[in-house]
């Protein structure tokens, strides 16, 4: 079943007098449990597509259905709710709240989801254990290494049990070894049935996925399955 159904969407920005077509007539379907990479050089529209998939932005035209719900016509509050319940973001720069400890960072989406404090603590601790950071719960981001920070961010993305995990260059700020650890973690999550969408410009990272969607100049250039997947192993 489709978790994401995008049909003929376009996104146009008005810059001064000029219209910029960031996306033009893009059609994509992503099934539950898929592991997809979105690739493209800068300016290809991949960030715009990612924002669209993450319900941070709405298309100028076309249809975007998320789990059968029409996102294109949603208001800010509905979009916020979808982001909260259905999407787990993982960013290149981790984007943790610097003043809060790991546990509180992971709790944050549950706070906005209206989960009570006790349940919140339990779920957040569980998610941190899941990424092997059970012993770092009360550390602040600046007391954690880059890889640990990204694992906190992944725990935060997982804690609401979202329909998709949307990872934007998750290894971009990490060294190769740490990056591999993170990719291993994604592999595990994939095996546990999570839908993962990876946005990257690195071929090697993209080849961890089963399918690569290549964008160029706002249109889909290629959408193909990966023949020889990179299966990460812990060093």
């Amino acid at each position: 079943m489709n978790v994401i159904n995008i049909r003929n969407i376009s996104k146009t920005y008005v810059m001064g007098v000029e219209e910029v077509h960031a996306l033009h007539d893009v059609t994509v379907q992503i099934d539950r449990g898929e592991y997809v990479a979105i690739m493209g050089p800068s300016g290809s529209g991949k960030s715009t597509l990612m924002n669209m998939l993450g319900c941070l932005d709405t298309p100028t035209s076309g249809l975007y259905e998320f789990n059968g719900a029409n996102v294109s016509e949603m208001n800010d509050n509905d979009l916020a709710r979808i982001r909260n319940k259905e999407i787990g973001f993982v960013f290149q720069t981790f984007n943790l709240i610097p003043r809060s400890d790991a546990l509180h960072n992971v709790e944050l989406p549950l706070i906005y989801g209206g989960v009570n404090a006790h349940e919140r603590k339990r779920l957040a601790a569980e998610a941190l254990n899941h990424v092997n950071l059970g012993d770092r719960m009360h550390h602040r981001p600046n007391e954690l290494s880059g890889g640990q920070r990204q694992r906190v961010a992944i725990a935060r993305a997982l804690v609401t049990k979202p329909s998709i995990i949307l990872a934007d260059e998750p290894t971009g700020n990490l060294d190769t070894k740490t990056g591999d650890e993170i990719m291993t973690l994604f592999e595990e999550l994939h095996h546990q049935g999570n839908t993962i969408i990876l946005v990257t410009h690195e071929e090697y990272i993209a080849e961890h996925a089963h399918r690569i969607i290549r964008l160029r100049d706002g249109v889909i250039e290629k959408d193909e399955n990966v023949q020889k997947r990179v299966i990460p192993t812990v060093a």
Binding site: L56, N77, A80, R81, K85, N95, I97, L108, G113
Partner: protein, 416 residues
């Protein structure tokens, strides 16, 4: 959450807190100080007994020169006082008195400081002055009629000259004249740093024969009960106008006051001070509010990225709005609490200086701000102050919070 944000920018926050604090401080400080003084006046103003009023030549006033119009008034003479007593039959007591200045009292080789008021009294002047005999007795009518050389001591004189042994029967000297002590009066205690017990009373007739008759006397009237009080004041006015030949329609050429009118006059004065302070403090709080707005706007800009993260994680506009609004409210409230603490300390330092009873911030029984609409105790005023601070926090926090709530999540996430 809100507290953490405040802690991050210590200097900037403390400067803004100072603004709110000073505003609240001036309100609470002045109100408490004035409340302390009022409280002291109401408790300590026992110059007159209950249901008693006093008629004298000049009005009593705490402020402005009320004497300009009454400067040419004729003295209330002893004869007028006696005529008044003859015609006024409805009163319980009518005392006559006159004050003869500040004297030094001598006893053997001891002497007091020159701070003792010499007062001439009639027999009924004792109850109307609220004087209770402690030792010995008051004057008799005979002593007053015969201008006897006897005296009754206020407790201040007793403490100074007769620490050991009874003063009764002793001889004291004032301006070279000898008086036999026949009684002492119970102390009334200090009042706003003064002493109400530093006096020495001799018969009015004695005083007038020694110091001259050309002076105005005070007539003190005690009514039988509270109900007849206002009627007796009116009756007294009428009698005295007749005695002093005041033409109909002309203003009284004498003044009547009671403890109530004294308290009312003082309250009128403090009310003006309070209203003035309130006005200035409100302006200070508005200025502080602008400071809060400023610090919140800076905070929103600094935390743009955080706002983006929160929105990506599912925070709605309302969530973000409430977060920043509660920060600015908590912020103003902290300033308010600081102001209340500092103000209460200032107000009660006044209590300490004037040896008046203190008014603690949680006091809820003494009204320290009375307006025609509402009266507030210290506790009430503090609660109002906190509510007002919260209000300032909301008013000046709304725009920054609204700005935060409407940030575009994509732009915010990209913000470095």
């Amino acid at each position: 959450m809100a507290i953490i944000a405040i802690r991050v920018n210590k200097l900037r926050s403390s400067l803004t807190l100072l603004g709110i604090g000073v505003g609240v401080f001036s309100i609470i400080g002045v109100m408490t100080a004035m409340g302390v003084l009022q409280n002291a006046i109401e408790n300590g103003l026992s110059g007159l007994g209950t249901n008693t009023f006093q008629i004298q030549k000049f009005p009593v006033t705490f402020f402005h020169d009320g004497r300009s119009r009454s400067r040419n008034r004729k003295d209330i003479t002893l004869e007028q006082g006696e005529m008044f007593i003859e015609r006024m039959n409805e009163a319980k007591y009518i005392g006559l008195e006159s004050w003869f200045g500040i004297k030094q009292i001598f006893h053997n080789n001891d002497k007091t400081n020159p701070n003792i008021s010499l007062v001439g009294e009639t027999v009924q002047g004792f109850p109307t002055n609220n004087w209770t005999i402690k030792q010995g007795r008051a004057f008799t009518n005979q002593e007053v009629d015969n201008a006897a050389s006897v005296c009754v001591l206020g407790n201040g004189v007793v403490e100074k000259l007769f620490e050991r042994g009874s003063p009764i029967g002793e001889i004291v000297k004032i301006d070279g004249n000898k008086f036999r002590v026949i009684g002492t009066v119970e102390p009334k205690g200090g009042f706003l740093g003064g002493n109400q017990d530093n006096y020495l009373a001799i018969p009015l007739t004695t005083a007038m024969s020694l110091y001259g008759k050309q002076r105005s006397i005070n007539i003190m009237v005690q009514t039988r009960d509270q109900e007849s009080y206002n009627d007796i004041i009116e009756l007294s006015t009428a009698i005295l106008r007749t005695i002093r030949h005041v033409p109909p329609g002309a203003e009284d050429d004498f003044a009547i006051f009671s403890n109530d009118t004294l308290i009312k006059q003082f309250n009128d004065l403090t009310f003006m001070v309070k209203i003035g302070t309130l006005g200035i403090a409100c302006i200070a709080l508005l200025a502080a509010g602008v400071g809060i707005m400023n610090i919140m706007l800076v905070s929103v800009t600094e935390r743009t990225k955080e706002i983006g993260i929160r929105k990506a994680l599912g925070a709605t506009k309302i969530n973000v709005l409430m977060q920043f609004l509660s920060e600015s409210v908590v912020f103003s409230q902290i300033g308010g609490v600081i102001g209340i603490i500092a103000g209460s300390i200032l107000g009660n330092v006044v209590a300490l200086i004037t040896s008046a009873p203190p008014i603690l911030p949680w006091n809820s029984s003494v009204a320290i701000l009375s307006t025609p609409f509402v009266s507030l105790s210290a506790l009430g005023l503090n609660i109002v102050a906190i509510i007002f601070c919260s209000f300032i926090g909301i008013v000046f926090g709304v725009y920054p919070a609204w700005k935060a709530a409407n940030l575009d999540p994509i732009e915010s996430l990209r913000y470095e």
